[in-house]
């Protein structure tokens, strides 16, 4: 019990009648996190659905030796027999894996909480987590590209980007009208290195340098165009052994496959949400005995690179320091 002497002061009443802080109703600010969805760009192409196939691996066939790649032979005489040509065929394998994420919340918290972070709200956020998963897998796959167009012993510079552009153009069969602009996925620090390099690039003095410098931003996901290549940034780009493993390709260079969840049977009474095109199944359940709700999400997703004989692919491995 507290005696509130006249005049009644806030300082005296706060501890018994008031509260020491107030939350803005239902507003919870999300902490810093990368929100770059690679589906908005050309770096992840949907290739197929394994649901009902009986396999966890999808193979994409490729072949050459015919059509534009077919070669006529000049015949030496009127009667020389024509030798039949061979064609060359290969395939790439895309294997799905199971990926999971789950949240739990007690009945007591659900009853008392005022913040809006409910099991339902968390379930609604799961497609965003799927987008992060896809981005992360795309970066893992890109880090294994074989041909490095940068220099592992130096930080990324303008010459590396010129070298990359030349790499695309000098790849026989690369055609802007077929493949579209190449994309480049770099770590934000690599983008900073590129910007620093532009500052001292002899071929780009004012005002060209200022113009190029100004267009280069290192925010994640933000795209800018450099030498007609669409450059993206993501902190998911691998860092190991003191090097960043950026990468570049064209649409179709990296693909993903899913297993549609439309056919997955869940028992009556289980609250299930399916996002078949993402291979995503979200189930909600409750344990009355221990008094908590739970949401589980399963995603069947696989990412891999197409053969470099189909889509040009280059690594941008540069030094981190």
């Amino acid at each position: 019990m507290a005696t509130l002497n006249a005049p009644i002061r806030h300082a005296d009443s706060e501890s018994v009648l008031g509260q020491s802080f107030d939350y803005l109703g239902l507003a919870v600010l999300q902490q810093l996190t990368e929100r770059f969805d690679v589906l908005t760009g050309p770096m992840a192409t949907f290739l197929g659905d394994l649901a009902g196939s009986g396999s966890d691996t999808l193979r994409i066939r490729n072949a050459t030796g015919y059509g534009y790649a077919g070669a006529f032979t000049a015949m030496a005489t009127e009667t020389q027999a024509i030798t039949a040509s061979s064609i060359t065929a290969a395939y790439d394998s895309f294997t799905v894996s199971r990926n999971g994420i789950a949240y739990e919340s007690t009945f007591q918290r659900d009853a008392l909480a005022s913040d809006g972070i409910t099991i339902d709200a968390l379930a609604q956020s799961i497609p965003e987590a799927w987008a992060s998963l896809l981005r992360s897998k795309v970066c893992t796959v890109g880090a294994a590209f074989s041909t490095n167009k940068a220099d592992a012993a130096a930080t990324l510079d303008v010459d590396d980007m010129i070298n990359l552009r030349a790499g695309f153009e000098e790849t026989a069969g690369f055609d802007l009208s077929v493949h579209g602009n190449p994309f480049v996925m770099l770590h934000p620090v690599q983008i900073s290195h590129l910007r620093s390099s532009i500052r001292s690039e002899t071929a780009l003095q004012m005002p060209d340098a200022f113009d190029a410098y100004q267009r280069i931003q290192s925010a994640t996901g933000l795209r800018f165009r450099f030498l007609d290549m669409d450059v993206y940034g993501s902190a998911d780009v691998s860092l190991s052994g003191g090097d960043y493993y950026g990468f570049a390709s064209v649409r179709g260079g990296i693909g993903f496959v899913v297993a549609s969840t439309a056919n997955i049977a869940v028992p009556t009474g289980v609250d299930a949400v399916r996002v078949p095109e993402f291979g995503l199944l979200i189930t909600k359940s409750a344990d009355g005995s221990q008094a908590y709700n739970r949401v589980d999400a399963n995603a069947w997703l696989g990412v891999a690179a197409a053969s470099s004989t189909v889509a040009p692919q280059f690594l941008m491995q540069s030094n981190a320091t």
Partner: protein, 247 residues
């Protein structure tokens, strides 16, 4: 993701738990016939030397042929397809349990780190985005992990560049990694020569800026042209261990 061998990976960081998101284990791969598969390094060595660009291949199920294990399958089944995919692309895969890939020489490790495989692990702590506690975080034996100074500061991953360089070069000198082909080295040198050319060509540039750029690129070219090619020219009898960060 189970590793080919999960023994002897722990206890190298000196911290109990790392405040970082867990990551995937990896094995090292190398593209020996790619010009980008070799670079010149000098830190920790007696002079410029060509070193193989060994890089980690993360074993993430659903990525590049790595898949979810089925009941009863042995761990290696998860990444057999990935190895085939990599080999088809010209990569050589170095598994951590291979005897030749053990890091045993103290000169090839940061101070205080015991001998063992090239991959090490530390357990993660809970971090603000709620990853489970105690899940492994994998890193190279030559990388030292530490927590940020405050609970929300990012963790630090510092590579002992000198030790990493010495180990990679020693693998070639010992014949565990084949020496680079002459034409691969020639292609790398030619790439660098083009960089010198592009730095010196533009007459619009401020003379001082151009001279500085030419000097930098020329120094790199000179280093490449004079660099020792391990496996073909004899290794110096003793390397000098330099302080990390030394040029």
């Amino acid at each position: 993701m189970p590793l080919p061998s999960s023994s002897g990976l722990g206890g190298v960081t000196g911290i109990e738990r790392l405040r970082a998101k867990p990551n995937a284990p990896f094995f090292l791969i190398h593209y020996p016939h790619e010009a980008g598969g070799w670079s010149v390094v000098s830190n920790g060595l007696d002079g410029p030397t060509w070193a193989p660009d060994l890089r980690p291949y993360q074993l993430v199920p659903g990525c590049g042929g790595v898949r979810t294990l089925e009941r009863g399958e042995h761990a290696a089944a998860a990444y057999e397809q990935a190895i085939l995919n990599l080999q088809r692309r010209g990569a050589v895969v170095y598994l951590p349990e291979a005897p030749a890939m053990q890091v045993t020489d103290a000169e090839h490790l940061p101070e205080g780190v015991p001998a063992g495989p090239y991959i090490r692990q530390v357990e993660t702590d809970t971090i603000p985005d709620g990853h489970a506690r105690g899940v492994p975080y994998y890193h190279l034996a030559q990388e030292q992990m530490s927590n940020g100074r405050t609970p929300t500061a990012p963790h630090k991953r510092v590579l002992d560049d000198a030790a990493w360089n010495r180990w990679r070069v020693a693998l070639v000198d010992a014949g565990h990694i084949a020496a680079p082909d002459a034409d691969v080295i020639a292609e790398r040198i030619e790439q660098q020569r083009r960089k010198v050319g592009s730095a010196s060509r533009d007459t619009r540039a401020n003379a001082e800026v151009r001279a500085a750029a030419v000097d930098t690129q020329s120094a790199r070219l000179a280093a490449m042209e004079s660099a020792r090619i391990p496996g073909t020219t004899p290794a110096p009898t003793k390397t000098t261990k330099r302080t990390r960060g030394a040029a």
